[in-house]
């Protein structure tokens, strides 16, 4: 484990959020992983410059729903940085509606593609993005493709079942078992 890099990251986050903001864990090979939670997405603007100054490199950004099946509201965005072998993940909560988050492209040039990607997958608005175009998805598609995650089981028990049996039994009496899916 690289203690110098770990300390540098801890200091950088500490300057923005105060001491004790980072929780550290290790994997089986003793590589260090830092975890930081931001309740306010605007705090990204405080943390990002310090991380950039410490020489951290943005590895990737992951947006996700707080709950996979959309049972509870809210999204989070995890920003993964690396400094000389030590990884730190800064997670920002995005509770606002419509969801919005500041762009970190002023400090990390390569955030460009990452931010465009989560915008189109989760419909999260990125404030101050220099190039807010679609990255992968066509303009014709809805912009929140992963935001409306439907569990496969829900889809399989869906209303389509009734439609199917109505066609099968068209003009005849529907058996009772075939109408059971109707309440979905």
């Amino acid at each position: 484990m690289n203690e110098i890099a770990k300390q540098a990251l801890e200091n950088a986050v500490g300057k923005a959020l105060g001491p004790g903001a980072v929780y550290w864990s290790t994997d089986a090979n003793k590589n260090a992983f830092g975890w930081v939670k931001l309740c306010d997405p605007d705090a990204l603007k405080l943390v990002a410059p310090h991380l950039a100054q410490a020489g951290a490199r943005l590895m990737t950004v992951t947006a996700y729903r707080n709950d996979k099946f959309s049972r509870i509201e809210g999204r989070e965005i995890a920003y993964h940085f690396d400094l000389d072998g030590v990884v730190i993940t800064v997670t920002a909560c995005v509770d606002s509606e419509p969801p919005r988050v500041p762009s970190i492209t002023p400090w990390f040039q390569n955030a460009d593609w990452n931010e465009r990607e989560f915008t189109e997958l989760y419909n999260i608005e990125v404030e101050g993005h220099p190039n807010p175009r679609r990255l992968f998805l066509d303009k014709e598609l809805d912009g929140d493709i992963l935001d409306r995650l439907v569990p496969l089981s829900t889809m399989m028990n869906g209303a389509s079942t009734t439609t199917l049996w109505e066609k099968v039994f068209a003009g005849k009496q529907m058996p009772e078992w075939a109408t059971k899916g109707a309440k979905n």
Partner: protein, 361 residues
Amino acid sequence: MAETYTLPVGPLHVALEEPMYFDIKVEGETVRGLDLTAGHVHRGMEALAMHRNYFQNVTLTERVCSLCSNSHPATYCMAVETLAGITVPERGQYLRVIADEIKRVASHLFNVGIMAHLVGFDSLFMHAMEVRELMQDAKEGVYGNRMNLGQCTIGGTRTDIDKETARFLRGQIEALKPQLHELYGVFEKDPLIRTRTRGIGVLPEAEARRYAVVGPVARASGVAYDVRRKAPYATYEDLTFEVQSDTAGDVHSRAMLRLREAVESVSIIEQCLKQMPEGPVKIEGMAAVPAGESVARSEAPRGELVYFLRSDGSDTPQRVKWRVPTYMNWEALQVMMAGCQVADIPLIVNSIDPCISCTER
């Protein structure tokens, strides 16, 4: 003032194996600007991964990309293992390294082979592919497949390498070594290769850091970052190898770097076959994956591969996100292509070893 016009390249183009659309601003024969449009083969694999259980995802991640098809499941498994607190038996760790390095040699030889083809040196292209066949046969002989090895599983590896298979693998490596050496000499000295690739597609170190490029592209520009050394995983800490780097940052240096890395990989495989202890190759049964999150990284042939896994405690992941090496290297093409000639475009694109099915997932 000379007139500029737009030259569309792709999405389907003879020099591209996969679809990517380049809008290239050209002034005469000189490239002045570049705009990328992606998304032609987007498969929504991250959404699929959320619907499959932890074991099914091993198979799914193996299919993200064919050339890095061992790095993907290996890194995914590492993320699951970290979260579930699973310790992979030492022999399993060595076997993973062997599979990774065989894939790296095959991937690098493929890339330099394509470079020879794009230069117009087709006999060298065919020679490189023929040398690569030694590794393809090794894969088929050891794992039963030429591309997707199916070697990784959560908690270890699927197949062991017994004495007879190890002898076969050693034989393939012995046959490969002199050929790799010869190939290196040709790529290094051949006047046609040198004229077409030296000083072309230069990425200076400062720009490499600004765009945060990874893998051979970064290392050829003086950023000596190799995950195998910086954040060792599996058994890389116990293995001797040199992280290759260069400062020229052009198409030629990236190809030469890949060939040198292939030589290092051969030595790593030899060390593994020698040092590998006896014992189990995987754990028995499967530990439950608790709620939580983990990050795992590895050095895929094209560069750093990152997996982020978030679990809600059920048998399917809440979110799996992976960032492939090529994803980071695309934007740096803006720098590499500025001022180049139209004829050099395919060479420069190939020099980042692009993988579009990886990028778009």
